[in-house]
């Protein structure tokens, strides 16, 4: 993909003064107030992506602190935290009781609910698509912006608005319904205002999700650079595209569900209330019809990042490009048919068997991806920078997460394992070991392009190992706890589980330490990191063709695709020399005589 100055396309460039568009997008516009105003009103997808990035990471921080608080409470079989303890993490536990919440058990339930709700609705669903996707989808397409830039800004403000509702619910002592809001508990438990706020938060956040997804679909269809056919797209785009389809088609269902839930809560309309002849299982169907597909909204973009990083850092053409691309779409399609596996015990036997069967189908496209990634590594020239370390960790952890999904999808074993710590561990291996690990990979991979600076490789490796070891200590133990019968969501447990719970809690501290190291490495990079070259990793996708920090309109001239995104064996990467990234020796073509 070389940039060709095509006179035709930019015929207007000469006539119109484009001077101010050629500066890096991060360049401040005048004084501090003018700059803040510029960021608040920007329709530039890059700035919106960066704002989203910091917002979702902030939400991740809140959700993480809540998780650490949970783990501390679980250090001992009986109560650990009491009202006199001080410190940020315990403020809610202690403060909740002071604010009149009945018992420490119900404070624990609130913290657990908030951890789930914040992490799911405010961090991991918008997470990768709205931040890295927003920033890099147009760049990888060679476009100047997303199709509907104003809608993009709207999405950002809707997200802020929705999160504001969620956070104010938390500040009013929060809700204890679990992040699934099952009826009739969620319509009868204490805290009218908090629950209404939280329901509205989820409802509003849904719009932001739809806007982003819709924007990305149209952008992919209509704004590809000349020469960039569907099968020349980077696989990150395919993944985001499949994600967007799910966002657009599934989110309206949670919208109407939570609308009904809101009216149920406010006026007892009875649709989900068995007392009035309503059907609480209908709520579960509605809820999971959205919330199952949405776990693929969480994981698909992560898989997109992994496809990019594995190919770039093994300097090899991605194995099975089309298989990976189509498996993304297949996952998106099948994801709509498996919601029933969250409710095996609350439906008929035949339905449960069908849902169990369909659930196993999802494993096929997922495994197709994993095998293709591993085949990509084979005979590659692998280098172990931080993004690659995280990509390899993804392969390892996601495989564990995926394989432990099989006993949960099988009816007989699920009856033993459901609602146990085994589910918690499986979910965290997929969501944390999968999505968050890939998010970290993506952040480090694209950091130089977003902020124009390199980070310290050695310290980020330290962070990586802390995260990796801490994560496994925290969650691998929970597989054992689950199989031995530790139920999820409980504040206390029998003495036999103490050791495993303690290992898990100590692991969570190591994990937290890893994030603190990463935070400092990245902050240090922003302040004092060496200037990044245009293309530090020698990648071939279009975002690396523009300046080290992209200019306002992304490219100085419209780029033209002249090679595939993974032709590492044939093309010297843009902005690099052949000494940096030597091409493999060409095999001589023998002609038959």
């Amino acid at each position: 993909m070389t940039t060709v100055d095509r006179g035709l396309d930019h015929a207007h460039d000469g006539a119109h003064d484009h001077g101010h568009h050629d500066v890096p997008y991060l360049t401040p516009k005048g004084g501090p107030i003018a700059t803040v105003w510029d960021w608040m009103t920007t329709v530039d997808h890059k700035k919106i992506g960066v704002m989203y990035l910091f917002a979702v990471l902030f939400m991740f921080f809140i959700g993480g602190v809540l998780a650490l608080a949970l783990r501390i409470e679980l250090l001992e079989p009986t109560r650990v935290v009491d009202g006199e303890l001080q410190g940020a993490a315990f403020a809610m536990l202690a403060g909740g009781e002071a604010a009149g919440v009945a018992s420490v058990g119900s404070v624990y339930n609130r913290i657990m609910t908030l951890h789930g709700a914040v992490m799911v609705f405010m961090f991991i669903v918008p997470g990768i698509p709205a931040s890295l996707g927003n920033f890099f989808l147009p760049l990888q397409l060679g476009a100047k912006d997303v199709a509907f830039p104003k809608l993009n800004l709207t999405s950002w403000y809707v997200y802020l608005f929705g999160s504001l509702f969620g956070v104010s619910s938390m500040l009013m002592t929060g809700v204890d319904t679990g992040w699934t809001f099952y009826t009739p508990y969620s319509t009868t438990t204490d805290g009218q205002a908090q629950i209404v706020l939280m329901i509205l938060a989820v409802f509003i956040l849904g719009f932001s999700s739809i806007f982003t997804g819709l924007n990305f679909i149209v952008t992919t269809h209509k704004l590809r650079a000349p020469g960039l056919g569907w099968f020349d797209l980077p696989l990150f785009i395919w993944a985001i595209y499949a994600t967007s389809i799910i966002q657009v088609l599934a989110t309206p269902v949670i919208g109407v569900t939570f609308l009904l839930l809101l009216f149920e809560r406010l006026f007892q309309i009875g649709i989900f209330d068995p007392g009035l002849g309503g059907d609480p299982v209908l709520f579960q169907h509605f809820f999971w019809f959205y919330s199952h597909p949405v776990v693929y909204v969480m994981i698909l973009p992560a898989m997109g990042i992994i496809s990019e990083v594995l190919a770039v850092f093994s300097r090899k053409k991605l194995f099975g490009y089309r298989a990976i691309a189509f498996s993304s779409l297949a996952i998106a399609g099948v994801s709509f048919l498996v919601w029933g596996h969250h409710m095996f015990t609350s439906q008929g036997e035949l339905a449960a068997m069908i849902f169990s069967f369909l659930t196993f189908l999802v494993a096929i496209p997922t495994a197709v991806k994993v095998f293709n990634w591993i085949a990509t590594l084979y005979k590659g020239s692998i280098s172990f920078q931080t993004p690659m370390m995280y990509a390899l960790a993804f392969l390892f952890l996601f495989s564990i997460g995926g394989l432990t999904g099989l006993p949960l999808g099988a009816l007989s074993t699920d009856l033993h394992l459901h609602d146990s710590y085994f589910v918690v561990a499986h979910f965290h291996y997929v969501m944390f070991g999968g999505t968050v690990i890939a998010f970290l990979s993506g952040i480090h991979y694209w950091w130089p392009k977003m902020f124009g600076r390199m980070y310290d490789e050695r310290w980020s490796h330290v962070g990586f190992w802390l995260v990796f070891v801490g994560f496994n200590l925290t969650f691998f133990t929970q597989f054992f706890l689950g199989t031995q019968g530790m139920p999820r969501r409980y504040v206390s447990y029998i003495d036999e589980f103490t050791l495993l719970h303690q290992i898990s809690t100590y692991g969570s501290w190591i994990l937290g330490l890893g994030f603190i190291v990463h935070l400092f490495v990245l902050l240090h990079s922003l302040v004092a990191g060496p200037k990044a070259p245009q293309n530090p990793w020698g990648a071939l996708t279009m975002e690396w063709e523009t300046d080290p920090i992209p200019v306002e309109h992304n490219f100085r001239h419209e780029p033209v695709a002249t090679h595939g995104p993974y032709d590492f064996e044939d093309v010297v990467p843009p902005g690099c020399t052949e000494e940096q990234f030597p091409l493999p020796p060409k095999e001589e073509v023998r002609t038959a005589h």
């Binding site: 396309d9 015929a11 207007h12 460039d13 006539a15 119109h16 484009h18 476009a143 100047k144 912006d145 199709a147 509907f148 830039p149 809608l151 739809i210 819709l214 924007n215 679909i217 149209v218 269809h221 209509k222 704004l223 657009v248 088609l249 599934a250 989110t251 309206p252 269902v253 919208g255 109407v256 569900t257 609308l259 009904l260 009216f263 149920e264 006026f267 007892q268 309309i269 009875g270 649709i271 209330d273 009035l276 002849g277 309503g278 059907d279 209908l282 509605f286 309109h553």
Partner: protein, 230 residues
């Protein structure tokens, strides 16, 4: 000749052409056709979300009709099919007039476009007026209310409150869409009067038109399901 890269506001003041003729596409598009196509894909995707939104309500309807067929039939008996039928005709007419308004704008018949848009808006208002004055208000006053609010003393079936929940939620969400549509059509009338839409540029009209058709279409399904079942 203005540059392709500037917005309408930056054009020289002496340019007296109507606004639609002076329209220039967004800076990130190659040409106005691409921009128009993209907007249409966007609208169609949005319509898909609308269908899924309503599908939840239709699904709830189906479940409760299966669980309590007598209550649904009894509930439907309380509705006057004539109001439903009038409203169906009103909405169908408005769908036709908005389509005509778009056609008129494409042919630059601005006066007729205004007339058609105005009729569309009036139809929407008539729909809501009939809905509120002749249906919601009297029924609510009689105690035919959803769920726990239900206080109608002569109910024939135990589960009639559920019927009213479905009825108010489904028609209420639909009426909200009509209300939003009225706002959008009013916006169109103002903009169209100012000359924003014409043969070369009518994206917003097209989008609102499509939205209005789906609002109509949802009612086409709600009418028989709610008013005509036995």
């Amino acid at each position: 000749m203005a540059t392709i890269d500037s917005g309408p506001g930056q054009l020289p003041a002496e340019d007296k052409r109507p606004r639609w003729e002076r329209y220039v596409h967004g800076h990130h598009w190659r040409n106005a056709d691409d921009e128009f196509d993209a907007a249409k894909i966007g609208i169609w995707l949005f319509l898909a979300t609308e269908i899924l939104l309503f599908s939840g309500l239709f699904c709830a309807y189906a479940v409760f009709r299966m669980l309590y067929p007598e209550a649904i039939a009894a509930g439907s008996g309380y509705l006057d099919w004539r109001f439903g039928a009038i409203n169906t005709v009103v909405l169908l007419l408005s769908s036709w007039t908005i389509a005509m308004a778009i056609r008129c704008v494409q042919l630059d018949q601005q006066k007729w476009a205004t007339i058609h848009l105005t009729i569309t808006w009036l139809c929407a208002a008539a729909f809501l007026a009939i809905k509120f004055a002749f249906e919601y208000a009297p029924k609510w006053a009689e105690g035919k209310r959803p769920g726990n609010l239900f206080s109608y003393p002569y109910a024939a079936e135990t589960h009639e409150p559920i019927w009213w929940s479905i009825y108010y939620m489904a028609t209420g969400v639909h009426a909200t869409h009509v209300l939003i549509g009225m706002g959008l059509i009013a916006y169109l009338i103002v903009r169209q009067r100012r000359g924003y839409y014409g043969p070369k540029h009518y994206t917003m009209m097209e989008g609102v038109g499509l939205y209005w058709h789906i609002v109509d279409l949802v009612w086409i399904f709600l009418f028989p399901l709610l008013y005509l079942v036995h």
